[in-house]
């Protein structure tokens, strides 16, 4: 693990340790994972119930359903809570199994992936909600 380059030999112990420790986001990460987990429970149950209810919905029926403010708001809350939860969870998995540059690129990729999915979902919901029946 420790490399014995000339530069390392000259570094103080503090300089060597810098950047290798915790980012001090652990407790917050954990708490946010649990808050979103709790929020996910009613939201996911609502989603599955809605899917069962709308299983044979025509386009007009589906868009009218999503245009109702309560449904649109719940859908956007669900998208935010689930994707944030999934981003935090996937980050932990990447941190557990990967290291070095691959890990860093995976961590960046995970954030970009869930952010992009979130924007796509929220835009779609808003478009349907604001244009249904027009």
């Amino acid at each position: 693990m420790p490399s014995h380059s000339e530069e390392d030999r000259l570094k103080s112990p503090l300089a060597k340790a810098r950047g290798l420790g915790s980012a001090h986001h652990g407790a917050e990460h954990w708490l946010h994972q649990k808050i979103t987990a709790l929020a996910n429970i009613p939201l996911i149950l609502w989603l599955v119930w809605s899917i069962v209810k709308l299983k044979a919905a025509t386009y007009a029926q589906f868009t009218a359903w999503l245009a109702s403010p309560l449904n649109a708001i719940l859908m956007i809350l669900l998208i935010i809570s689930v994707l944030y939860h999934a981003r935090l969870g996937s980050q932990v998995i990447a941190e557990d199994y990967l290291s070095g540059w691959f890990r860093m690129s995976k961590l960046i990729g995970i954030r970009l992936f869930f952010f992009a999915i979130g924007v796509a979902c929220i835009f779609s919901v808003l478009k349907i909600a604001f244009t249904a029946g027009m």
């Binding site: 996910n40 299983k55 386009y59 589906f62 999934a86 979902c121 919901v125 349907i128």
Partner: protein, 132 residues
Amino acid sequence: MSETIKKVQRPLSPHLQVYKLPLTARLSISHRAAGVALSAGTVLVAAFLIAAAAGEESYNFVMGIASSVPGQIILFLWSAALYYHMCNGIRHMFWDTGKFLEKDVAMRTNYIVIMFAFILTAATWACAYLTS
């Protein structure tokens, strides 16, 4: 020399290729697997919403896929992974408060989690197919 090595009974970590994982360990890694599967599945949720936002034709197209046999199988697996991850996630949060951590209690809650996930999945699909 080799004699002494043999005599020292050092504990070994489970060798994953040959060691049959206890149920608790299998459910633990399943929580992670379900989380990854559900995360990948968000692409399909986004695809559905984008298709619906694009208009009636693409909405009908994805609804056709969803109601086909492969589509129904994927939805079934999605619901099972979701319910399992939810039930086990609730157990995780009890563990976080320090409850149910004893080995025999964990074993009992293993079965409770599996049972609830099974019942919720079955009830959902019964509702989907038995109601109009």
